[in-house]
Amino acid sequence: MPRNLLGIRHLAQDDINELISLAADFKLRIIEGKAVPELSKEVVGMLFFENSTRTRVSFEQAAHYLRMKTANFSAGSSSMSKGETLKDTILTLRYERLNGLVMRHRMSGSTALAARYFGGPVLNAGDGQHEHPTQALGDALTVLERKGQIKDLTVAIVGDVEHSRVARSNAWLFSKLGAEVRFVGPRTLIPAHPQLLPGEVYHDLRNGIEGADVIICLRLQKERMAQGLLSSISEYASMYQVNRETLRWANRECLVMHPGPLNRGIEVDDVAADGDHSVITTQIENGIFVRMASLYWVFTSEAKPSSPPELKVKTAKAKTPAKAKRTAAGAKKK
C-alpha cells in the first residue's frame, strides 16, 4: 500500500511530529532561499470536486516549490458531471499514470474510497464533514511557532463542530500531541454523541474558552439556518462570537485561529480577526509548508510502488527511484 494522508485520526504521534518538523524545515529553507528537495518526476492530480480557493492554491504552491507537475481537474469540467462514478474517475486517473492525487469531495470518506482504487498516494484536501488533515497540520505548526509546544495547551474549537472537518482534524491532532481539546457551540451544532471524538463539550462560550490558549473559530454556514439548526445569525453571534469582549475570558496570550473564509461579524469580529491575538494570516502561509511536507512525506515513502502497479509491458518497467532521505535536510544543495 502506498502511503496516504487521509486523516489525522489514523496518524501516530511520530508521524504528526515528523510532518510538522518537515514543514518547519521547508519553511526555513524557502524563507532563506535555500534549496528544497525536488520531486520533479512526480505528477500529482489536483482533484477538486468541491469548490476551493485557498486549499487548492496552497497545494499548487507547495507542489511548485517541490518542482512537481500538477494536473488540474474540477467538478464541472471532469467526466463526473457526465455520470461517471467516482471509482471509474479514479481508475482513469490511475491509468493516466498520475503519481498521486490531492482530492477534495463533498462526501465523507470519499478520499478513502479513492485511495482504495488509485494505487498511489492520495492526500485528503477535505472530505465532507470528516477530515481536513493539512489544515490541522498548518494550524499545529502555527501554534508551535507561537507557543513553543502543544502539550498541555487548552484548545477551544468554537462553532459548528457537527458539520466541520476542520474541527475533527484539529481535535485529533491537538489531542494526540497532548493538548486539552474543547468543543464549544450550541446543542444543534455539536454532535449528540461525541464519545469517540477527543474533546470535552461546552455549550457556554464563557466556560468553553475560559483559560484557553488557542481558540479555533469555525466558519458558520448560513445554510444551517435554513435547516432550522439556528434561529437567527444574530442570536448565534450574540452567544458564540469571539470578539473584543469575549476574548477577555480566554488566556491573555490566547491565539485566535480561523480556517477561512471568514464571516466577519458572525463568528468573529474585526478585533479577534485582525488584532494581536490573531494568527490567521500565518495559518494561511503555514498551510503551504505543511502541504509541501505532506507531499514530500507521501511521495518519498518507501512503501510507494510504481504506478500503476499492474503495468505488464516488460520494457516499460519503471526503475525504482533512488531512495530519498527522510528529511528535507537531505535535499541536494545548490
Binding site: A112, G128, H130, P191, H193, Q195
Partner: protein, 440 residues
Amino acid sequence: MRTLLKNGRILDPSQDLDIVGHLIIEDSQVVEFGEEVDLSEIDEVYDCTGMWITPGLVDPHVHLREPGQQHKETIVSGTQAAAAGGFSTICCMPNTDPPLDNPALVDFILDKSASPEAGGVFVAPVGALTVNMAGERLTDLSALKRAGIIAASDEGFPIQNSAMMQQAMEFCVQLDLPIMAHCEDLSLTEDASMNEGAVSAMLGLKGMPRSAEEIMVMRNCLLSLHTNCQLHIMRVSTWGAVEMIRQAKYLGAPVTCEICPMHFTFTEEAVGEFDTLFKITPPLRTQLDIDMIYQGLNDGTIDCISSDHSPHASHEVEVPFEEAPFGHSGLESTVGVTLTMLTHRGVLSPLETIRKLSTKPAEILRLEAGTLRPGETPVAQVTVIDPECEWVFDRHKTFSKSKNSPFHGMTLKGKAMLTFCGSEIYRDALFSDDRYTINE
C-alpha cells in the same frame, strides 16, 4: 416415487415436535413422519443423521428486483438463491421498477417464478400500498389481493401522513390483508446514512436517530390498535422499538415484527472506514440494542427472522458511503448466520429457531407453509439443515446476482443442505454423496 429422509432430528414448531425420526415424501407430498415409518417401496434415501429435518423455511422479506432492476437480481436468480438458502417460500417486496401496484405485475411475478428456470420456490408477492409508492393514493388493494398479493407495503417509502396510514389500515382490515411496514420518520433521516451515534460523529456522517424508527413504530402500533389492522413491522433495530412492540402486543394490538440477521450480528462500529456493505436501513445500532433484541427474540416479542435480501450491483456499492444504497444480499447467509449468532449461542433453541424461520412467518402472512403436517401445504416443503457444518461464506459462490454481503469471509456454523418444494430443488455440494442412495 417414495423418498425417505432418514434418521434426522425432526423439528416442526407447528406441532411443537422435536424428535429423531424419518420422514417420507410420496408424490410431492409429505405422507408420514415419526420414529417409526413405513419403509416399504422406498425409491431414494437421504441419510439425515445428525441433521435437522424442518418445514421448508419461509422468508417474509425478499427483494427480487424484477421487473426493472434485473442488473441487481432476477426472479430466476433470486429464487435460486432462496432455494440454496433453505427457503421454500419467499415474499417479494413491491419496490420494483415500476412498483408492484397493479394486478398485471402480480401475474407477471407469479408466472415468472413458476417457470422451469426459476428456483422452484413459492413466491408470495407483497403489493404496494399506494400508487407508485408515493404515499398519496391507495392502490386497488382488492384487485391486487385477487391477483395474489399476501400483504401490502410501501417498503422503503413509508407513508408519512398518519391520516393516510389510518385509511390504508381501514381498507386492509376490510380486505383482511396484513400491512408490512418499514418504520421511519423521513423528516428525521434526510441525507442520513447510518446510526446517529458516536461512530457517525467521528466519521462526519449524518446520523439516523433511533427516534426516527421508534416514532413510526409507535404511530403504526397505535393505528393498528385502534383500527385492528394486522400490522407486521419489518426489520426492527432499536431496543426502544422492541419495547414498544412488546407493549403494543400487551395492549392487544394485532402486531408482529421481524428482524434481519445484520441487526443481531453487527453494531454501528462495523461501518469501520466507510464500508458500504454495512449500510442498511434502519441502520446498525449498538450492543445494547443487540442485547435487547436477544431478549425480544427469546420472549417472542420478535416473531420471525427475515433475510431482508436486498441485492445491489457492485458498481452501486463501490461509491462514497452517503451515495450507497441500503441493504445486503442475504438469502444464502441467513440460516448460517442465525444458527451461528443465535442458536449455537443459546439465544434460541433449535425448535424456536425454526419457528422464527418458518412456522411463524407463514402463520403471520397466512401462507400454506411452515409445517410438516401432511396435506397442509400444497406440496411437500421440507428443509434439511446441518447445524454443525462449518463453512466460510463466499459471496462469489452464491446464486444471487449481487455480491453485496457483509458476511463474506465469515466462518458460519450451520447450513441448509437440502431444500424440497414438491421435489428436491436444492442439494448442497457439502451434502456428501454417501448420504444419498437410490434403490434400484
